[in-house]
Amino acid sequence: MTDPFSLAAGWLTETVLLPALYAVGGMEWEEVAFGWALFACYGVAQVAVTFAVCLPLERWRPVERWPDQKAVWVDVLYTLLSRVGVLPLVTFVLFYQLQVGLNGWLSDHGWVPPTLERLVPALLGHHLLTFFLYAVILDFSEYWRHRLSHRFGWWWALHSLHHAQRQMTFWSDDRNHLLDDLIGFAWFTAVALLIGIPPMQFPLLVLLLRFLESLSHANARLSFGWLGERLLVSPRFHRSHHGVLAAGQQSANYGAILPWWDVLFGTADFDRAYVRTGDPSAEEALATGSYVQQQWAGLRRMARMAGWTGPRQAGGFKRGH
């Protein structure tokens, strides 16, 4: 049976994207267009499912209640730009030639990027198991990317945009600085060169993983229980990471989907629960500014942190007690 996402992506490609690419002389991107359409269709489904599950949860058992939720609307914009595929498309276009050049240079020097299955031939034909292993490895890689983004001042300045939100909801997952997203894409590309990346053979699992990431930001009193908290990142667990005392260099609970890495590397904090979120040292524009204001404030903060403009700043860069 043909899956509905592929059908929708095919329809979008055939009736909208291809004629548009043809009209503007961009037909060399036609293969990419279908991939992007598929990404966008999954993105729409992700947003819809997340909305349908998380909104009732947030209404039912909110951690915080706010007189108004103006700051949340910018996060909605971030989510739509990210999940429906505008930002990934821009990132892809920016990186495409770089990737081609790097891949070509590597292959000229005898490096054919392997796949996990070639490194572990026993995995051949076991797609479901392979997918899970890829998910674990990529989550591990994400843990370190995230942890390093808190470690370096200039990087934290960019990432602090994500932490500045005082009204954290399930929409906040994609609230990121564009440069932070670009670094994330480069990181992912590097991992892909080392072990390959899995094809989209299990779209529902991908959808589930992205859903869990959104859920972990929900403004909901939701714990997965003693054992569950140690198996999957819950809203309770991830909220500690966003707590006002955890913003900066020595935060906790960096895991995106699996808390295993935090337990393994000593950064897990299962004690604090349902704390206030935000970054007290961030300027107000990072918390409540418009999309453009937030992006600009992130750049300014990065310049200050790196010492490019005025004295190097360290404000908010140490974890409180």
């Binding site: 055939e14 002389g25 279908f34 796949t115």
Partner: protein
């Protein structure tokens, strides 16, 4: 039922064909979007099974001795060697970005385009050793040969050019602009025909210097060209218009245009005269009967691209 067919079919292949109203054999379809191969029963026009591969299989070529079916898995950087009778994978060989591939008519060379790496690799077909890598910008797409195997011609999708590679001296002889986003290319009657996907035509090109002599209108998004087994009909798939056009191979005059929705891409020809066409965006393979214009579609995997019919040879 599928399992039953999978067991019965190899036996059926050995049995003599009685009154072949429909073509027998298998169709092997490369689902580039979900890393699988679909194995279809041509007689019943149904899918028998899916064979998992690694990442992104695009194109297929039969080895000169007919013993192996080569499938390029571009995303996985590996070439798969299949049993052409069953579609079973026999072995895998690491290879950089094998997108499109073709053996030279004399069987000496295998040329592989690396669309995502701006490179064209020429291998010694007997040993599969890399003879020469040609960095060619940008997006080397499809390849064909001169009948005497002296030259290989590669479309460069990103720069609107066609490149000619002298295989005897292993050098690029020339590159020439041929039209917007060239994709498919074939040799016909002493000329090169290049489908310009960013336009509505294919170009008739002089193989000596790449000069465009003529442009033949077929439809928007002219993507791939195929010559029928009897060499009388030229078939062109138009990706944007969703049509497959038949032309007289001798005169290049249009005979008929057939509606084939879903981004028609690769074609293989069945012994019963039908065309099996991959429909990229609707996850189907269309079986077109040119005599009646009837199109029967078979569901396969996501973004089906290359296709090979075992019963066609």
């Amino acid at each position: 039922m599928r399992l039953l067919l999978a067991f019965i079919l190899p036996l059926a292949l050995l049995a003599p064909m009685a009154g072949p109203a429909r073509a027998g054999g298998l169709a092997i379809v490369l689902n580039s979007g979900d890393a699988t191969l679909s194995v279809l029963d041509m007689a019943h026009e149904t899918e028998l099974r899916r064979v998992p591969v690694l990442r992104e299989p695009h194109h297929v070529a039969l080895s000169p001795d007919g013993a192996d079916l080569l499938v390029g898995d571009a995303g996985a950087n590996e070439m798969l060697f299949l049993d052409p009778r069953t579609g079973d994978i026999r072995r895998r060989v690491p290879m950089a970005d094998p997108y499109h591939l073709a053996f030279s008519p004399n069987g000496k060379w295998l040329t592989v385009t690396g669309l995502a790496r701006n490179q064209v690799d020429v291998y010694d077909a007997a040993t599969m050793a890399l003879a020469k890598r040609f960095p060619l910008s940008t997006m080397p797409s499809h390849v064909t040969y001169a009948p005497d195997s002296s030259m290989a011609y590669v479309t460069l999708q990103g720069t609107n050019r066609l490149a000619a590679i002298d295989l005897r001296h292993q050098v690029v002889s020339w590159t020439a602009e041929v039209g917007a986003t060239p994709a498919g290319v074939i040799w016909l009657n002493g000329k090169l025909l290049v489908a310009n996907m960013g336009s509505d035509h294919f170009a008739v090109v002089d193989p000596v210097d790449g000069r465009v002599e003529q442009r033949i209108h077929t439809g928007r998004g002219a993507h791939q060209l195929f010559l029928s087994p009897d060499r009388k009909t030229l078939w062109v798939n138009n990706r944007v218009d969703g049509t497959t056009v038949a032309l007289d191979a001798a005169t290049l005059a249009t005979i008929h245009s057939y509606r084939v929705p879903g981004g028609p891409d690769c074609i293989d020809f069945a012994p019963d005269g039908k065309l099996w066409i991959t429909q990229r965006f609707i996850q189907k393979v269309g079986v077109l009967d040119p005599a009646t214009g009837a199109l029967q579609s078979i569901p396969v995997g996501r973004s089906p691209h290359g296709i090979f019919l075992t019963g066609a040879r």
